[in-house]
């Protein structure tokens, strides 16, 4: 489970219910509701906790026999959707017990990741019933001297009625009364997380003390590792590929990618000495110095021949340091130049960058009305699976009706997908592009009168790209 690369935190679900409807109930009633969370179904609490204990034990066993499990778990990850970090800092991903695995570790239960979908949750909870009979609940007696702590997060309407601490306290007291546990705020054995929102009321136990996002193999973290891994995973990295991160910083993306896709040659470039030194450290710490080569260079002047790289993954720096406009354009041009035809490019863009790119495109193509909504869209609803985003921009189709040649002439980077992710305090977008054909091809005709060459964009008209 520790191998799940895109998850921030994992929780073992105790309970998930429909939300407590605040407006209709009085304060007293709401308190009642919360207590019911505990009292109604003590069985599920106990089951969850004994499961959790098992996992802890298995974990220590696992340290000794680690290799065997690595592959099956990885396969499991491959089957699941990639979970993208959501808006909450503490991410809640519900885990439900699925089945028992038949091997020597027969008490180890398999888990799969789910998005917050109520229907599948209840199904899974039902599955849990029969399965749990197999789980030895012999540990129940020992649960009496547990120390615990309740951490609660409230969002939505309930915030008007209660603070998180109050809720935590109510539930804590209910738990003490029901199970006889002792509360220990400083160093509890068992931590219970609750999240009450307008969509659901969830209670769970965190599986690991440290968020999964903090990797064992990274020395100095730059970009959040989960995002880095997610970016690498949609970049279509194949064996024998050449992958470049032209603004690699501390090398986070390269490390995540190289850990997961080892039969690939990685290159990282950065302008800064200190960042590169940090990257070197990270590579060494992760043992990846032989798979990743670093060089010092500017992303606007990449020292690589045109069309030499299969995949580009990059975190475009946010913030005031990078002026919008010209810089973004020259960066993209250069990246587009070195990318092979049919290569993939995955970028992490800030809201500003993305808006700017979209606006530029809008003005240089005649068909503003048709193209704006669907072109690069898809703010992915965190509840949906990632596969459901739309494909290639319809603006291509739109423009073809006006000027058939233009579709090919306008730049070569085709937006494929775009996901909104949360970086904690801010939001950003992971945008994936594919290169359709060699840039700089001047298609005869189809220059829009009055189009300003400086407003070049991804879908730009062929400007003299480069003397290469």
């Amino acid at each position: 489970m520790k191998k799940l690369k895109s998850a921030e935190r994992l929780f073992l679900l105790i309970k998930k219910q429909l939300p407590i409807t605040v407006p209709s109930l009085s304060k007293g009633k709401i308190l009642n509701e919360m207590q019911r969370l505990v009292n109604d179904d003590p069985g599920s609490w106990l089951k969850a906790i004994s499961l959790w204990k098992e996992l802890l034990e298995c974990d220590t066993k696992r340290e000794k026999v680690s290799q065997r499990d690595a592959n099956p778990l990885k396969r499991k990850v491959g089957e699941n959707e990639i979970v993208i970090a959501k808006k909450l800092k503490v991410e809640e991903i519900q885990m439900v017990e699925e089945s028992h695995r038949e091997d020597q570790r027969d008490r180890l239960t398999e888990y799969y990741l789910e998005q917050g979908n109520a229907v599948t949750q209840t199904e899974a909870l039902q599955e849990q019933g029969p399965q749990n009979d197999l789980v030895k609940t012999a540990g129940t007696e020992n649960l009496e001297d547990l120390t615990f702590r309740v951490s609660c997060r409230c969002s939505g309407n309930i915030v008007k009625a209660f603070t998180a601490q109050e809720v935590g306290r109510v539930v804590g007291i209910a738990l003490m009364r029901k199970f006889g546990w002792k509360a220990n705020l400083r160093n509890p054995y068992l931590e219970i997380f609750m999240h009450l929102s307008d969509a659901y009321s969830v209670v769970g136990i965190p599986l690991f003390r440290v968020p999964l996002a903090s990797r064992t193999y990274i020395q100095t973290a730059g970009l959040r590792s989960t995002i880095a891994w997610a970016m690498a995973s949609i970049a279509e990295i194949k064996a024998g590929a050449l992958v470049l991160d032209p603004m690699c910083g501390l090398g986070t993306i390269l490390v995540e990618a190289a850990e997961e896709w080892p039969d690939v040659y990685y290159m990282g470039a950065d302008v800064s000495d200190s960042q590169l030194l940090g990257a070197c450290d990270n590579l060494k710490a992760a043992g990846l110095a032989d798979k990743i080569d670093l060089l010092q260079g500017s992303v606007t002047e990449l020292p690589l021949p045109s069309q030499s790289v299969d995949v580009i993954i990059s975190d475009i720096p946010f913030g005031k340091k990078f002026k919008l406009g010209k810089d973004i354009k020259s960066i993209l041009q250069e990246m587009e130049r070195v990318l092979r035809v049919d290569g993939t490019m995955v970028l992490l863009l800030s809201e500003d960058h993305r808006r700017h790119l979209r606006d530029c495109r809008g003005s240089s193509i005649l068909l503003t009305s048709q193209e704006s909504p669907p072109e690069m869209k898809m703010l992915l609803n965190p509840d949906k699976r990632t596969g459901t985003s739309d494909k290639v921009s319809p603006s291509h189709k739109a423009s073809s009706s006006q000027c058939p040649r233009r579709v090919l002439a306008c730049g070569s980077l085709v937006p494929v997908e775009c996901f909104k992710v949360s970086l904690g305090k801010t939001d950003a977008f992971i945008c994936k592009y594919k290169k359709a054909h060699a840039s700089g091809l001047s298609a005869a005709g189809c220059h829009e009168p009055g189009a300003q060459p400086e407003m070049a964009t991804l879908q730009e008209f062929p400007s003299p790209q480069d003397s290469l």
């Binding site: 060089l295 606007t300 002047e301 020292p303 690589l304």
Partner: protein, 143 residues
Amino acid sequence: MRSVRSFRFRPRELPSGNMKLLTHNLLSSHVRGVGTRGFPLRLQATEVRINPVEFNPDFVARMIPKVEWAALVQAADTLNLAEVPKEPTEGYEHDETFLRKMHHVLLEVDVLEGTLQCPESGRLFPISRGIPNMLLNDEETET
């Protein structure tokens, strides 16, 4: 003022990076006006280290078609490496001897200190601590 990096105080630590010949095979000069004539960069090394890397025949076989052979031969010569074949042999994918040789040349030779020279403009790019510095100053960049 004596710099800390004098020989007497040089810490015996491993240098930071390691430029491999596979990377050299891709690097080209971006100096203004140079275009495609900025490749290949003439390699000169003052410090080289041979560093064993796990042999992965599949990976090497996949890299072979991407290699600019003349540039590789030239670089290997400069470093006095064992004879590198002028071109991939027929059926190289299954020729383990060949693949091992290429694996060694492409991935096991780390250039730690040296220079890379643009064949057209003569501009020298330094390699220090295994990292080539390809940054150009303002006059040299194409805009």
